[in-house]
């Protein structure tokens, strides 16, 4: 069964990346600590007024996620590049998109864990009361994370192999993520309040559309981009 083999390849790559991460831990700890630091700094810059902080909380959480997530994406390819392991990986039999899917899955787990930390710290530091519709809020966050990770992983596959990768990845990625940032923050803000205008629905549809468009586009384009 071809798709079963493909799925095994995807899982193998994701597991390899996550195992490397788990054994070293330095990557996750570093990135998550940076995210928390950004939250604290934003709190200091915007506070100490509690009301102002509550209003800014969603934006702060998402900015902390973007700024630290960007480091995670480059890492996921850099580890391979440093030891010259990307070319052997490309030489393995099987379709190339499985490499992208594996990296994507690994990054998805990594960033989701990071977002969990950021959200918990954000709730505590910014004095957020958890709303009744928290499952929808989690759904919005998940959709936003998918959009971030899909484009982040894709652009990192190029940026990590260029000069000045630290600058290039955010420069390419952040303007592309404007719809994700707007949709995720506006929908989350609406859900944290009463959402009287029922605006979260439209934003959720936008996020779903964005995720689908760029999932398809990245899978098509990856084969084309990864050639050595």
């Amino acid at each position: 069964m071809a798709w079963k083999d493909d799925w095994r390849r995807v899982r193998a790559i994701a597991r390899k990346d996550l195992t490397t991460e788990l054994r070293a831990k330095a990557g996750f700890n570093g990135v998550a600590s940076l995210a928390v630091t950004i939250l604290i700094l934003l709190g200091l810059a915007l506070g100490p007024d509690g009301e102002a902080l509550r209003n800014a909380a969603v934006g702060a959480v998402w900015l902390a996620t973007l700024f630290s997530g960007v480091l995670a994406f480059n890492r996921s390819f850099q580890v391979e590049l440093e030891s010259g392991a990307l070319e052997p990986l490309l030489l393995y039999p099987g379709p190339r998109w499985t490499i992208f899917a594996g990296k994507l899955l690994g990054n998805l787990v990594f960033v989701s864990l990071m977002v969990a930390v950021v959200m918990i710290v954000g709730i505590v530091l910014y004095g957020i009361t958890i709303p009744d519709r928290w499952p929808t809020l989690l759904g919005v966050t998940a959709l936003g994370v998918v959009g971030l990770v899909v484009l982040g992983t894709f652009y990192a596959s190029m940026a990590s192999r260029s000069r000045a990768r630290e600058v290039l990845l955010p420069l390419l990625l952040f303007p592309m993520l404007v719809p994700v940032l707007l949709a995720a923050t506006t929908a989350s803000k609406a859900l944290l309040g009463a959402d009287l205008m029922h605006e979260s629905g439209a934003w959720i549809r936008l996020l779903i559309g964005y995720d689908i468009v760029f999932l398809i586009a990245t899978f098509i384009a990856f084969e084309h981009v990864i050639e050595a």
Binding site: R163, L171, P175, M176, V213, F214, H224
Partner: protein, 228 residues
């Protein structure tokens, strides 16, 4: 082997620039001072066509990026890159003129409305595209990667526009011959045609330069390889 550009190209450039001067002169002399804005309205004759040219340029980037992915011809990549540079210039011009107009008309340099914000995001996407090109040395990598970044950027433009529009909107409806007093339409149309000629000339000229640069690189490579 590289062929020097024909004399027709220089002639075309001359005609394009004369057309701009003539169209500007026509528009400024024929249009009456506008009721609310007075002579400030004249900015429209560059601002609006420049915005159109920016979109046309980005459309050229999209088409030739996809063509490159399909056909892998170096020239398609060079045309896309040339159009991106010209598009960045026109986007910058649109933003600058819009701000100069906005200050007296709205009382502020900048408002976070849908079209301003999405044009700014568009500009940033162009900047990322051009940065990627300057940070990647290998010609074929540069071509493959920028094709993906160019196509993704263009796909994203309508999504960015829609999301910012939902987020907030304030701009007056876009100026087009339909929304204008007839006294101004002819000037706008003529200027659009004149700037279109300039756009074609710029892209064409930039493409010729890019071809020359590539020819020198090829020559340097073959000399380094011991050929002639």
């Amino acid at each position: 082997m590289y062929q020097p550009p024909p004399r027709a190209s220089a002639l075309f450039g001359g005609i394009a620039f004369i057309a701009v001067i003539a169209a500007q002169a026509f528009a400024i002399m024929t249009s009456p001072a506008e009721g609310d804005m007075g002579h400030l309205q004249k900015i429209m004759y560059v601002h609006v066509p420049a915005a159109w040219m920016a979109f046309i340029s980005f459309f050229v980037v999209l088409v030739f990026s996809i063509l490159y992915m399909v056909r892998k011809r170096e020239n398609d990549d060079l045309i896309a890159a040339s159009a991106a540079e010209v598009g960045a210039v026109f986007t910058g011009l649109t933003l600058a003129l819009g701000m100069i107009w906005g200050r007296p008309a709205w009382g502020v340099w900048w408002v976070w409305d849908a079209r301003l914000t999405s044009t700014l995001v568009l500009f940033l996407i162009f900047v990322g595209y051009l940065a990627l090109r300057s940070f990647v040395d290998d010609q074929s990598q540069r071509a493959r990667w920028s094709a993906a970044v160019g196509a993704f950027g263009a796909i994203n433009v309508p999504i960015v526009y829609m999301s910012v529009k939902w987020w907030r909107t304030l701009h007056q409806p876009p100026s087009s011959p339909d929304t204008l007093d007839p006294a101004y339409t002819m000037g706008l149309r003529l200027n659009a045609i004149a700037l279109l000629l300039v756009t074609i000339y710029f892209i064409r000229k930039r493409y010729e330069i890019a071809r020359l640069e590539r020819a020198t690189e090829h020559l340097a490579e073959s000399v380094a390889m011991g050929g002639k």
